[in-house]
């Protein structure tokens, strides 16, 4: 349940953003190569995606995510601003307005309307990679929560200080973790950092606490640290990372 004042703030902000979106599209219609206009449209869609996702208006969040994919193609010049694109974006804006009205009045817009609009836009996004992998599902998103066999892990990783001398880079281990799932958060532990005068530039002092969302088995996470094996692989690995199964987001 969203508090009334927050819902009102959302509707106000969304209304401003949709005005920006529409004005930007109309600017693009006049000057199809205007980077400024395209940025304005993109930022409006992006901000609306963030705010709607935060409040659990998942239909708006998903549709703006889709629009972002299309707009990114325009940005990368994989797609040109045609009459068809402008017309589509204006129709999309009308739909967003209905969705925001729906959010204000607490009634849903038929899911088919959103699905149809997405289907109509897919001609412009075909072959595009989405702007990012879907982020953490908000708590109030039952569809995703139910479907997700994803588990959240906290991986605490404090590399031995001679890691660099062994030709390894702690940041590469983070990259390896990223290949297993989605790193929701990485926190750097600087508590072992010595005074500057005592610091050896060839040693590592940082530790990392990572929050990882993945559907892969624990062994896949552990495998990321196998690379650090060395003389006493098993002991080292245990020393390197501590794995904690985190609570889910539900």
């Amino acid at each position: 349940m969203i508090p009334d004042d927050l819902q009102q703030l959302f509707v106000e902000e969304a209304t401003d953003l949709l005005r920006d979106f529409e004005e930007g599209v109309l600017e693009l219609e006049q000057a199809s190569d205007s980077v400024e206009a395209l940025n304005r449209v993109f930022r409006a869609a992006h901000t609306l995606k963030g705010a709607s996702g935060m409040l659990g208006f998942t239909d708006i969040a998903r549709f703006t995510h889709f629009l972002e994919t299309l707009l990114l193609r325009l940005r990368k010049r994989e797609l040109t601003v045609s009459v068809g694109v402008v017309e589509y974006l204006l129709r999309a804006s009308d739909l967003l307005r209905r969705l925001v009205d729906g959010a204000r009045e607490g009634r849903a817009v038929p899911a088919d309307d959103v699905a149809d609009m997405e289907a109509a836009g897919r001609v412009y996004t075909r072959g595009a990679t989405p702007p990012d992998a879907p982020g953490a599902a908000p708590a109030a998103e039952p569809a995703l929560a139910e479907a997700g066999r994803e588990t959240h892990y906290v991986v605490r990783f404090h590399p031995p200080d001679d890691l660099l001398l062994r030709g390894l880079d702690p940041l590469r281990l983070l990259d390896a973790l990223e290949s297993v799932g989605t790193l929701l958060e990485v926190e750097v532990d600087t508590s072992r950092l010595p005074a500057l005068a005592d610091m050896d530039p060839e040693r590592t002092y940082f530790g990392f606490t990572c929050r990882l969302a993945t559907a892969r088995p624990v062994a896949s996470i552990e495998a990321c640290f196998d690379v650090v094996g060395g003389r006493d692989g098993a002991r080292d690995r245990g020393h390197l990372a501590e794995l904690v199964v985190d609570r889910g987001l539900g």
């Binding site: 927050l6 703030l9 959302f10 106000e12 902000e13 993109f42 930022r43 992006h46 901000t47 995606k49 963030g50 705010a51 996702g53 935060m54 409040l55 659990g56 969040a61 702007p131 990012d132 992998a133 879907p134 982020g135 953490a136 908000p138 708590a139 940041l171 990259d175 990223e178 989605t182 790193l183 929701l184 958060e185 990485v186 926190e187 750097v188 532990d189 600087t190 508590s191 950092l193 606490t209 929050r211 987001l249």
Partner: protein, 127 residues
């Protein structure tokens, strides 16, 4: 004295969500709407932590992180990046810019509280 946190977000909804999550923990929250405003405010606000959005008008979040890292008295201030983009490119870019960590939107308010507390604790421990 409660830790001062500078929140940089162009979305009023998002600023309010951050405020709602962190205010009960007694932080002294300051808000700015884009990177340029934040950079101007940093010397007077002197935050213990900066939480910034990425995609903003005027100056984006990553440019802000880079700029903070060149400000002699504030270059070691932790900066958490609040982003809807969870892709590898984004993380690499954040890391390269000097961000302390990132939080993916939509965020779980408790998760944000924990991360903020941990980052501030780590900072206190270093001093």
């Amino acid at each position: 004295m409660s830790a001062r946190i500078l929140v940089v977000e162009d979305s009023r909804v998002m600023r309010q969500m951050v405020r709602t999550a962190l205010e009960p923990d007694g932080y002294d929250l300051h808000e700015r709407e884009d990177g340029r405003q934040a950079l101007d405010a940093i010397p007077s606000v002197a935050p213990a932590l900066v939480i910034t959005d990425v995609n903003m008008p005027e100056m984006d979040g990553l440019s802000l992180v880079r700029a903070i890292r060149t400000l002699a008295p504030f270059r070691f201030v932790p900066v958490l990046v609040l982003t809807t983009e969870s892709g590898d490119d984004m993380k690499r870019a954040g890391r390269a810019a000097g961000a302390t960590g990132w939080i993916v939107k939509p965020f779980d308010p408790n998760q944000l509280r924990e991360v903020v507390a941990r980052v501030l604790r780590a900072r206190a421990a270093r001093r």
